[in-house]
Symmetry: C2
């Protein structure tokens, strides 16, 4: 693999899996008051549009990263809507 690809994969992995600890924290604490609802909604809609874009341009890494992000983000947004 060339250096650029490794760097790109590192960046994508970090920003994709970054949302996992936030989901876990919200599940554990049942507390989401400090999370911004507009932020979560914008991220959720943005991720869905990234998935559509990834599909349209047939970019598998982009699709995969955003489908994973979508799962974590949906959990966090769902808990925010539940706990406020």
């Amino acid at each position: 693999m060339d250096t650029n690809l490794i760097i790109g994969l590192a960046a994508a992995s970090l920003t994709t899996f970054a949302f996992l600890p936030q989901s876990i924290r919200a599940i554990r604490t049942k507390h989401t008051k400090d999370l911004s609802l507009p932020t979560l909604i914008m991220l959720e809609i943005g991720i869905v549009i990234w998935i559509i874009y990834g599909y349209l341009i047939t970019d598998i890494p982009l699709l995969a990263a955003n489908i994973i992000s979508f799962v974590f983000m949906t959990v966090t947004l769902g808990l925010k809507l539940k706990y406020g």
Copy 2:
């Protein structure tokens, strides 16, 4: 502009500016307890690597989006480190 480009720009704008309301909320409330520190650190490092990647492959939209995200993320991470 073709449809794919418009969809890509919409996705990039949403996921970039999504972090602004979170910064504003943290500044206003001085409360960041529910934010996951690992999430913020992974996003901050991931964004820096995206900037390096954008520079290496000379991708101006990727660079621009991540430099903007970096500002919002640094504010939020700084406030998380301050308020806990």
